[in-house]
């Protein structure tokens, strides 16, 4: 394979890695995919170093001089969770490794995968509502709390999705999510006495909980990527803290306004 080809392969692999990392894949999966894809095309020197914020990749062809090693670095800034894309790229990389697909063909498949949109915002909001309403039932809520959590959570999902869209800082987005959840919970609780604030808030904050970050932190740590593992764990802690901060802020405010009692 000549030099142009190896550069093309490098670009294609980086594109694959970028989609994976931006859609919420674990870094160990990204590194594994890169190495498998490159070694399947006869490269004997493949080194990749992936962190949640960047991809570093070096390649050298069999028989080439060590000076000919090519390296590319790609910085990853935006991340959103789309596990559908992770599954699709995973399928694609298996296909690529086991067949002799051309690089142009691979690029086309990747572009199609990159175009996969998340489910529409309305579907997200409704299923967010369903998720948290049923969580409250698991903790023994009554039917009024169920309805309140459903509406509150739709509001929370809508507001965090819209804040994400205008790339509001993630920390502030989660604080606002906690605030919205608590405000609606307080409104519902003061309208109807059978509704407990805690049930509604606990249900509604569940849609912001860092499930992906926790899972990825564990998987990265046990596969030896300690830096990524710690980074993801820190992300999980920061998300949890910011949710609690938002909830606490509004609760404190309400206690001050209502004169020391919490309904």
């Amino acid at each position: 394979m000549n030099e142009i080809d190896s550069k093309k392969l490098l670009k294609m692999t980086l594109y694959t890695a970028e989609i994976l990392l931006q859609s919420g894949a674990e870094t160990y999966r990204v590194e594994d995919t890169i190495v498998r894809m490159c070694t399947s095309r006869g490269f004997d020197y493949v080194e990749s170093f992936v962190t949640p914020t960047g991809i570093f990749l070096s390649l050298n062809n069999k028989g080439d001089k060590p000076e000919d090693i090519i390296t590319l670095v790609r910085r990853i800034k935006s991340r959103s969770i789309n596990l559908n894309r992770v599954a699709k790229v995973n399928d694609f990389s298996r296909q690529f490794v086991s067949s002799d697909m051309s690089i142009e063909e691979a690029f086309n498949i990747l572009k199609d995968i990159d175009k996969i949109k998340p489910y529409p915002a309305l579907i997200h909001a409704i299923f967010g509502g369903i998720a948290s309403a049923f969580v409250t039932l698991l903790f023994g809520a009554n039917i009024f709390e169920f309805m309140a959590a459903f509406i509150t959570s739709i509001m929370v999902t809508f507001s965090i999705k819209n804040l994400d869209k205008i790339s509001f800082p993630p920390f502030l987005t989660n604080i606002s999510g906690g605030c919205v959840a608590t405000i609606f919970a307080i409104i519902f609780a003061s309208l109807y006495p059978a509704i407990r604030i805690d049930m509604v808030v606990v249900g509604a904050i569940m849609v912001m909980v860092p499930g992906v970050a926790i899972t990825n932190a564990v998987r990265d740590s046990i596969s030896g990527d300690l830096i990524s593992g710690l980074a993801k764990a820190a992300e999980a802690v920061i998300i949890a803290t910011s949710i609690a901060f938002g909830v606490g802020f509004i609760l404190q405010l309400w206690i001050l306004i209502s004169g020391g009692k919490l309904l």
Binding site: G24, A25, E26, R29, I81, N82, L83, N84, R85, V86, A87, K88, N90, D91, P118, Y119, I123, H124, F127, G128, G129, I130, A131, S132, A133, F134, V135, L137, L138, F139, T157, D198, V201, V202, I205, M206, V207, V209, G211, V212, I214, T215, N216, A217, V218, R219, S221, I222, S223, A240, I243, A244, V247, G248, L251, Q252, I255, L262
Partner: protein, 145 residues
């Protein structure tokens, strides 16, 4: 009977989270099943031991084992099934009461709820670690290269 009720509710709620995380359509129901099943396990152990940390640990073990089985069967990465299924186990309750106790200047309660939050999170992570490392060890043995 009460377990069937729990199963259906946890299944519905896991399906909700699955859509939020944009799971592939064909995987949504399986993830929901993992969530429902794990909640039944959680309740079973909670009724016997009254320890939320232990019950969460066992329930997460169940999720991780189911996810690995599904991963082999349906050719999806195991993470896809794990992520939505663990969310109902995440200690949102304890997190809320930690915050509430801090606001009410009740620091001993805050420490109690706070340590519950941390311990339950560790239980989830620990259970996932056990299953996933056993599995990666098995894969390593199968293909020595």
């Amino acid at each position: 009977m009460i377990y069937l009720y729990d199963f259906i509710i946890a299944l519905t709620c896991t399906i909700g989270f699955a859509v939020l995380f944009n799971l592939p359509r064909t995987a949504i129901l399986n993830a929901g099943f993992a969530g429902g099943f794990s909640w039944v396990i959680y309740n079973l152990f909670h009724n016997i031991t009254h320890s939320s940390v232990l019950s969460t640990f066992v329930a997460s073990l169940a999720i991780a084992i189911l996810a690995e089985t599904f991963a082999v069967k349906f050719k999806f990465p195991a993470t896809i099934f794990i992520v939505p299924a663990i969310v109902p186990l995440v200690p949102g309750h304890a997190l809320y009461y930690t915050m509430l106790s801090i606001i009410q200047n009740n620091y001993s309660a805050a420490v109690r709820y706070g340590s519950e939050t941390v311990l339950v999170s560790i239980a989830i992570a620990g259970a996932l670690t056990v299953v996933l490392s056993v599995n990666s060890f098995r894969k390593l043995k199968r293909s020595p290269n």
